[in-house]
Symmetry: D2
Subunit: 409 residues, 4 copies
């Protein structure tokens, strides 16, 4: 019987749990230790530590203090791991907490985080997704039902001090280019809501003041939000500190490439069953800077896609130079416009792109001045046929249901 | 027996062929006409019209005049097609010309076009790829052999005049922000090498002076370089002019997402067997701005990938704000570094990423300030095992072979 | 929260549980009732009700009384279901019991049931398979590790009386052609070990004397042992009695096509999460005699196979007329011979074919006198490369481990 | 440019071509020689050598003399190949002859060959299938269109004399058990219509009298009719004579598992591009008796199946003992009954099962007395939705078109 090394109680605050942390810092003590070859289970909070509720209001999405996220389980020490090694993590299985078989997706207000299409959806909105075995559907987004590509949005090892300093320095430089921007260009350390695991006193205060925020992905992996890092995949993480210090959280029942809705995928509390081994000196042997991974042999096998193209000319007709972000944004907007023809609200269509196993491909990056990006929408997740035909679309969705929206206050 | 409506003679210049053109302009006369429901075959030159040769020198890649490209076959008029329709194109089959069973891949000199990694590979280089049935391999890049995901890099309908004007205007605005940049930010009309199909005299001169270059993808599709637009796929193109005016060219035997090498994929001369039908008024019915498409049921089924992550911090450590291009560039550089451990030169590794069916995914675009992009490298295309293991990599490639390189002159 | 309608206690005998039965009879009372549209969970014993243990002896496989099997959970009554309907069952999820994360595979002695290759493996043998998340491996069969294609070996609705009588009649006719054969040609009703759910007294005795054995698949589905009836699939069952009476059991963590080892797949205790709906009058509407089903979108995606052919000439060289069984047996024997070259014992190789997601295809059934069958062995389940090459095979398995064997007594 | 070593002229009789043969005999001289490592092209007749025509009458299917088939191209000698080697054949590509872009499927009269369902379809019928690029459809079977899984039905090396004698002996023994059966249990040598390649005179007469018929698959492979031996696959053939003597023919544009219609798949004339290498002594090294192979990376990717079960109880209700043939026949009949609900004639439904990429799986072979077989029908090949739903089926096919049928004479 595999041991559950970290347990979480969803009725309590994550800040009460010493095996949870929400900042990256080399001084955070290991929550527990394992040996190479061990398999074990870690339970996790949802990324907000339970702030977002299973209800029909988006007020919590509007009001959340984003300096609190993400609540991670760990760090797990791996005996014998040393800087320069690769920590090989087999994600043997991932699931929702049995007492919490639901997740949320939402858009942050433009004033509080925003998202990829925040200019089009500037207000807080939320949808709740229920899990029935392998599948999920939402009372706020009718007509779709799909198998979950379950994965951790955030996983990685502790940075050492030089790497931490580098992160903070380069991000501050960026912030300094437009320090009052809303939403901010990056998130600097924020001591107030920092949860540093077992740390206490002065050491805690010092680390909290330095600890890197968990929002961006970085060299160690971290908040990559890669949907394909799913149960059954194998990840090779760079090790920077003795013991590696592996942490995980931000579990997603499903997500589209890009996690465009930002809040976020289908976010859930859950557990991860993993096994760790080491490749000694692996970083130099294989020239590794960022993690590499191999996909799972078991993922939802949706094969019939409707694919939307976008180019790097924005909604106002402005020409950009080989900008994939602009191109992918256009592909997303094109898909939303298409889905509206079947009766979806724009918000519902946006939510589908954020939650379902849609793919985002970088299709062309050299044909000046236009990049081309494609969004792959699986047609099989819909209860009805969304393919184009000579007769034109049918409004299968009657518009009687929409996603809760909360005005800014 | 299906008719071949456009034939090309590879021993002659494409400029001698009236059914070929290399600019987009609504006044180019239809090369031929078909009825909705017809299937037909069009032969095509390679995108350079035969300038790049099957030899062991990169001089042609260095010396090419890029104002000459791309040589397209068409436009094909479809009876009854009107502005606002969708032209549905079934790509029934695509192949190389039987007398030309090879293709080329290369990097342009930074002084003449460059490419996605031009700062790392600033000089002209070339590799030649031979086709053996479904498969291709290169005498310049040992150790790889893969099935071709054959597709047209460039396909789309003629723009109308307002759209043409919009293209030229917005691209010129971009050029004007840095008009002396090398390589240029975009390519303005260029009359000298324009080939306007059947047009002659003054009309030709006027159209040549206005005709949009074929380099970028635009609203009509065009040079999307989407590898998944392969034989067996179905594409829905916006129609802007009476008769639609469908043109195609720039065939690729295989390509990786992004076509990062720019010159280009595995470029070839060949033929396309296609069928056309119409969805009358389809643009408004489905809210279509850019083409949409459905992938083929028949593509190379490589399933075991090694996946490289990249984030939007560049090689110098500079932090960018949610820039997918920077992130994908890092993922590509990470993959190249990895492949070098097995004995490949950087150029060979770069060439593999540009030619093999690698995928580029937009994995995260909201976790400020870092985007995350992933490059999916199929492991099954290699003659040896490239997976990481505890013992470290073996140098299967001994370095005795490299890609021809030509110094700038 | 989904209700668990039937619970099983693995520390107790299945015969103590009134919601369990091991015979098919229309008079078995419904264990519980649900409405169309409901989803619910049923726990199940392993098919032997716990007789086979997690140890290193095959004595239990040798000694089992096969009149006791299979212990099924149900029948579940579906309100409104009537004869002639189709009961649509969505298998939302399936798993092992958390307190029993292992399964067994074995060969029965030829004197007690035998198996597909019983002439080659006439004695009882057993292997134990441990589950680590999605994956399984065995301490008795080194060098393989694979993702489970979890499925119920046995699922179906209660027969009505005429169907029951037909089953018993036609099977008795077969038995009568060779009544003393070992193993028997079929299994007649066997009252002694019958467990008839809630039935008691005379009614129980009468039904026990008539109840069809659960061993063969029949018109209602039943013991089909179809590996592809996995979590995520959708099955359409004929309904014969009011309320349908759906029962399920004999869960497999994984199995090869044919379940050639008979005892059996990787057999386990577990649970099934399912949803039921009705197609009224569906049998006549669609001309349904046997169940039909649609496969899951989520199954292990092993794609690289080594495929073995077999023809209908037996090991002694005798020619059969278009006999697929003989052909598939030869394909299996050919695969076993091949695997022995890598160091496996014949029993281990046989066990791999019975447990891993191997496919058995009916490749040719008309080319007199030889049928052709193919066995598809996924190469990716092995820790080493089993592909043929010019150098010949390497003995990766050193023979120090074998499967427990028990001599007949 | 790859050499075409054997050419066929479809306007002439195959018997005029010395590089064609229709019997297996070790004395047939090599038609040509190649070296290990060579790739080359062989053209082939259709299996009947052009007897079946592209018209709307089934008279040719009724009247064909089945002693004439199959016309094979070869044998190709491979220098250095010796008995005991494995001949590795890479099927680099396969296609139809450009001047013959069609194929046929049919049922033989029960009096002249029959087929898997000959008791239900006892008369000669035919359907013609046109090829449009990768796809095929039939003027006799409306509503289906699918990508071809192109493959040779028949490929293998020459037997040596002892093997030939064994084949003839064991098949004659079977024939002797019911020598007057119609259709016959097997086909003995038949000198009259034998075409022995370059052989002439007495040697030819002797070999023709001994030459094994090409109908059944045997140890060398031969007429396996395995649809998955498609372009891109790699086959390992046993070698019995010096030079191997590889022959190929009976090309199929597409076929369902079992080739149940017997006449046959979608039969065509065409060409095979292949490469040969050797594994010296490979038969002993790997314990090979029958060919083994690896599937292609490129095949039609139909993933949504409707799966029909069958058990070994025949149409009359008779119980068989673990007979997969009976079970598969029931699965086929169940599928035909289902398709008739959508408007197809039985013959059209039968033809679809014989031609489309349907799979036949051996699902259970140990649950006495019933085998279970499954037929996997891809739903995506139909122009309409064939999935079951609560409303019942719609007759999309109006019955105005059927397959030509010819009464016995």
């Amino acid at each position: 019987m595999t041991d559950t090394l970290i347990k979480v109680d969803l009725t309590k605050s994550p800040t009460e749990n010493e095996m949870i942390h929400n900042r990256w810092h080399p001084d955070i003590p290991m929550a527990c230790w394992v040996n190479p070859g061990d398999d074990f289970i870690l339970e996790t909070f949802d990324w907000t530590g339970g702030f977002i509720k299973n209800n029909d209001s988006a007020d919590d999405v509007r009001d959340i203090d984003l300096t609190t996220v993400h609540y991670l389980s760990g760090p797990v020490g791996v005996k014998g791991a040393e800087p320069g090694d690769l920590l090989v993590v087999d994600l043997l299985d991932i699931g929702a907490k049995p007492d919490s078989l639901w997740g949320f997706n939402g858009f942050f207000s433009k004033k509080n985080g925003g998202g990829f299409l925040t200019d089009h959806f500037p207000l807080a909105q939320k949808s709740i997704w229920d899990f029935k075995g392998m599948f999920t559907s939402s009372r706020h987004v009718p007509g779709v039902n799909f198998a979950g590509l379950i994965h951790p949005g955030l996983i990685g090892c502790l940075p050492d001090k030089p790497m931490l300093d580098m992160w903070n320095a380069r991000e501050q430089q960026l912030i300094d280019t437009d320090p009052t921007r809303v939403p901010g260009l990056a998130n600097p350390p924020s001591s107030g809501t920092a949860h540093m695991g077992k740390m206490t006193g002065e050491a805690r205060a010092k680390a909290a003041a330095e600890g890197a925020r968990t929002v961006p992905p970085r060299e160690h992996g971290g908040n990559c939000d890669i949907k394909d890092l799913s149960r059954g995949s194998k990840v090779f993480f760079p090790v920077y500190v003795d013991g590696a210090g592996l942490s995980v959280g931000d579990l997603h029942f499903s997500q589209g490439d890009g996690e465009i809705t930002f809040c976020g995928a289908i976010e859930m509390a859950g557990w991860v069953h993993m096994k760790v081994t080491l490749i000694k000196g692996g970083m130099a042997k294989y020239g590794i800077k960022n993690p590499i991974f191999k996909p799972s042999v078991m993922t939802p096998n949706y094969k019939d896609f409707l694919i939307f193209e976008g180019i790097s000319v924005d909604e106002a007709g402005k020409q950009y130079y080989l900008d994939v972000n602009v191109a992918y944004r256009q592909a997303c907007l094109n898909a939303i416009e298409y889905l509206k023809k079947f009766g979806y609200s724009g918000a519902q269509a946006y939510s589908i792109l954020g939650t379902a196993p849609v793919q985002g491909h970088i299709s062309g990056v050299v044909d000046v001045p236009n990049s081309c990006a494609t969004l792959w929408l699986p047609t099989e997740i819909f209860d009805f046929d969304i393919n184009p035909n000579a007769a034109g679309p049918t409004k299968f969705i009657d518009g009687s249901i929409d996603m809760p929206l909360s005005q800014d206050v």
